[in-house]
Symmetry: C2
């Protein structure tokens, strides 16, 4: 049999008997056939070489004993690295000194025969070369080679495993997986949605006697279909690992298509009563959703990481999160807590702040207590944040507050002495100060952002090492409506927006306030799940009372009739005996990135897009020729 080291085999070839990851000393003496990718040769002598052969399950060491130069096996040296081969040979236990405990390290296979299945002739880089990781663009363009790296293929494998744990757990809990449509209706306010023109059915829609183009839209989440499904009563507990879509400028590490673990349950609680034992901290409804997620996340960490999580996660209110940590997704793994120092101020200052509805808050770093963060703190000193910083020295002990540019308050000598005493301030401390509205708004405060910045700097310097155990946290009792979300303002045009979405139920204690028009006082039955300071999911109890939903649309959000129209079917479904219901969605990509300990979700997606939404492997998005567009009834604006 002659060898053509550059011609793929296109004939029947020997069937593999084992994978490259499974042979052990128990197989010694067995004749095996392995298939896989050939890694670089290591020549032991003129007559003997080692070749590792790799497949997705592992690596096996091949031993080649060459006879004369015409020997069939000698040709293996001419086969390019990363080619696929089938080899036949016998399993041997390795000589004692070269045995390894990992993988197939106890054995080697002495090769009798090989078949070149497909030569690697065009490698832009060698993925098995762990020494040099080529640049990101090249790896993105040849993603199918980058995926050959174990670091990435391990992530893909782990993702499949976690998806399986999720499904097993939810099925076990009585959930049904139901697919909801991806070709949905565009919404008037669909600011970030993808449209999908269709050629079909166009002739039925006419304007001035002419066909008009028709569009579906891809969902940003299965929110409406899943609520309708639960309203139907067909399914008591729904879940789906669902694809969602968002056409937006590449924010940090987002993808235009992403995956959610989406679930919804009928007959969830509507706030706490005596039948819910943990009602002390969790005062919104949806206890059942909480319990499912805690069980689910617990099983994932148990099975994937071997870590036992607490059986229930800490709950804090939005208000507490904003007050103590300055963030609605606080990283509670470290302290550096914010304190409201208003109560320690003299009464004159207190009442002037109170009249303005403001407070003054501080992060106090004491050298004695905050060792890990001191150098990061100094670094912040020289940054933009420094305008809110007061480093206490002997000389400014009695005017650090007045000197702070962000505060604008005057204190007398005595008042300052008293304040220092109350706060326990001494020379060498650093105080970061901020004056803000007492009622927190939005996702973070100035000190909350600073707190994260100090921790990141300390982490980068190696001074602070976050604990390995994950910190899960529920945040509840968000304001139901907001005017402080710039992302929503361009649709709201000065009206109130829903902090999350318009279907979130108010806390029942606040229903009266809502109907009385005290919109800013209404808290929602919403819950966010936060892990290590990253929001990994959120959900809520939904409005099931059609009149209440209509009131929210019309009176609170002041939607126009056309804005309301796309919710008509939901309103009607509520009027047909919809059960109280609620749910949640977790970001699967983000969850996987955390489990794979990688900073970017691109590392846990088989074929991701760049931050700009471009796919450099498949070369999309791309221009489409005019004739093709014409079939959809559309043309470029600049023709």
């Amino acid at each position: 049999m002659h060898i053509y080291p550059d011609i793929p085999s296109t004939a029947p070839y020997p069937k593999r008997t084992h994978t490259c990851g499974e042979l052990t000393p128990a197989h010694a003496g067995t004749h095996v056939t392995l298939t896989g990718w050939l890694l670089p040769e290591r020549k032991v002598s003129k007559f003997m070489s080692f070749f590792p052969i790799k497949d997705s399950s592992g690596i096996t060491q091949l031993v080649i004993r060459k006879g004369d130069a015409d020997d069939h096996l000698a040709a293996l040296s001419d086969v390019p690295v990363e080619s696929t081969v089938a080899i036949e040979g016998q399993v041997h236990v390795r000589p004692e000194k070269s045995r390894r405990d990992e993988g197939t390290g106890q054995i080697e296979v002495q090769v009798d025969k090989f078949t070149l299945l497909n030569p690697a002739q065009c490698m832009p880089f060698i993925p098995s070369d762990n020494q040099t990781l080529v640049n990101e663009d090249l790896r993105a363009r040849f993603r199918y080679l980058d995926l050959r790296r174990t670091a990435l293929s391990d992530n893909i494998r782990k993702r499949s495993r976690v998806a399986r744990i999720i499904r097993d757990t939810l099925h076990h809990d009585g959930f049904l997986e139901v697919e909801t449509p991806l070709l949905l209706k565009s919404t008037p306010e669909g600011a970030r949605e993808f449209l999908v023109p269709t050629r079909v059915g166009r002739s039925t829609a006419q304007q001035d006697g002419k066909d008009i183009p028709l569009f579906y839209a891809l969902p940003q989440s299965p929110q409406q279909p899943k609520q309708l499904l639960i309203c139907s009563g067909a399914v008591d507990k729904y879940f789906q690992i669902a694809k969602c879509f968002r056409d937006e400028d590449g924010r940090k590490d987002r993808q235009p298509e992403f995956t959610q673990i989406d679930l919804e349950m009928a007959f969830v609680s509507w706030g706490a009563d005596k039948s819910y034992s943990r009602s002390d901290t969790w005062r919104v409804g949806g206890h059942e959703v909480r319990a499912v997620i805690e069980r689910l996340v617990g099983r994932i960490w148990q099975q994937v990481e071997g870590i036992t999580l607490p059986s229930s996660f800490r709950v804090i209110t939005y208000n507490e999160a904003m007050t103590r940590y300055g963030s609605d997704k606080p990283d509670t793994r470290f302290a550096l807590e914010i304190q409201d120092i208003t109560p320690s101020l003299p009464s004159r200052a207190r009442s002037s702040l109170e009249n303005l509805g403001e407070i003054i808050e501080a992060i106090i770093l004491r050298p004695s207590e905050n060792n890990q963060f001191l150098r990061a703190n100094d670094e912040c000193n020289s940054q933009e944040e420094s305008d809110t910083q007061s480093v206490i020295t002997d000389s400014n002990m009695l005017n650090w507050l007045c000197d702070n540019r962000s505060i604008n308050l005057k204190l007398s000598h005595d008042e300052h002495v008293l304040l220092n005493k109350t706060l326990g301030v001494s020379s060498g401390d650093t105080l970061w100060l901020s004056r803000r509205r007492k009622v927190p708004e939005g996702g973070s405060t100035a000190l909350g952002r600073l707190r994260i910045r100090i921790s990141e700097l300390a982490h980068a310097r190696g001074d602070y090492v976050p604990p390995t155990a994950p910190h899960f946290l529920w945040v509840t009792e968000f304001p139901l409506f907001t005017r402080a979300d710039p992302d929503k303002e361009f649709l709201a045009h000065g009206r109130w927006s829903s902090t999350h979405h318009p279907f979130t139920a108010p806390m029942w204690q606040d229903i009266e306030a809502m109907y009385a028009g005290r919109t800013d006082q209404v808290r929602g039955q919403h819950y966010d799940l936060v892990l290590n300071g990253v929001e990994i999911g959120g959900g809520s109890v939904r409005v099931h009372d059609a009149c209440m939903q209509e009131y929210i649309f019309s009176q609170v959000l002041q939607l126009s009739d056309s804005e309301k129209a796309s919710f008509n079917h939901l309103l009607h479904a509520l009027k047909c005996g919809a059960p109280p219901h609620g749910g949640i969605a977790l970001g699967f990509d983000r969850l996987m990135a955390i489990l794979c300990k990688t900073p970017t979700i691109r590392d846990v997606i088989a074929f991701p897009k760049t931050g700009a939404g471009t796919d450099i492997l498949f070369k999309s998005p791309a221009a489409v020729n005019k004739d093709a567009l014409y079939q959809y009834g559309i043309q470029p604006t600049h023709g």
Copy 2:
């Protein structure tokens, strides 16, 4: 507590202790809380009523004993049917004579207290009314109510269960589930694809100094991503329950979005050799794919239907399927086989047919043998098919062939006598005759279509009852290229098309013929899975030799450079040590329709679209205003 029979509860309500499907005599005496939908009252006396309460798990009978008219419980009679309620009460074993074995038929719950959760005030129809099924349009518009019907919700539940079996089986077999992109690249020939315009990144693409619109496309299948994934070596066995999209005129029971069970495997066989024991009938490669699917389908039927399927399914070649059944997806549950009568013709007629490359074939119905089909046969007689029919009577015994309009052959008296004898024709028989090209083309022949028509008529009449056991069948050895597919011709413009897709490998026995330009003689390593005459899936061994793939693109299919461009990354991946690989995709919707014994896939999809691609619940597709389109750089053709 006062009752407002039309106001939903928006306060904490009692937590359910059990579902409506789980109570048994073992619960007798227990105080329970149930939540669900109230079904119509059945009054036993002035003081006692029965109400069934239903949730997705079942129905429980409630007993209401009313005191005086002011009694709280009396108000239950005013609650509209299909409202959601929470009831509290005690479980009793029913009096012996009213006990039923099904569901919760042994018990009833005597109600102490109820909470109206949400009244049903706007019901366009009552889904629990099994007597009258309202018209399809109304049910589609209010799908969320139609889903409340047990017939539909059972299908949704079964679909979730089957998806779970699929995943369990494939995970157990070592498959990984990997999500592939839905926002992909449009292809030049993308005749049926959906385009997705995007606002992001437009400014980077310019033509004549103007931004040009950019588009993704939704995949008709994950074919290219899954092949690239396998080429990467990251995954040895891939699967995905994948959403796919097709923008086409509503053919019979198709959906613009549909679901496939998609899989692909590395290192599949490339045709039979001695290591494959069943090589006698399955002569293409991909034995491993076959084995996985037979195991998978076997487990589904075992677990869902309690039916044990054969451990391997019958295999027939395309040629045999076309010859004996006139179809590439033959229904082999009944005989009515087609026979080639050319060999029985006199030699003169035979050679004239042979010169033309034609044959004459027949279906012969004998009253003695085809009892089930005789009345259907008579019915066909009066239809358009009658022009190929010869009913044998005493008077036409010797000219039935010559008289048949579809044949155009003359036989002498003696020749006819001999033919009758050879075929065993006697008076009263019916012969359906057809003259066709000897080499079969496309998906069916005239007699193949007639065969199905007769069976359908016989089935409709109740003369023929198909067996309950499912008949699975593999069809292999299809021609790799075709000119007989009208669906493809509008892209091919007279060139050869791939019968399935251009990545299908030729049978290795036919590679030489392919390179020699004998395109019509090349059979592909393709396999279709057919169930009861319905194609439920298909797959193939893929080309892994880049030169062969390039030859197919350029020399056989004669693709232009721009047509080839979208395959460049695949060609390159093949050059980087791609393993031999193959896979398959099964239509999940069709599979579920068969398992749910419903003729339409709409019954197994939670929120389906009409045959015309319209969603009358969500009201899509819909027009989009010009300003919104402008952001994507597109405008209507008729502006």
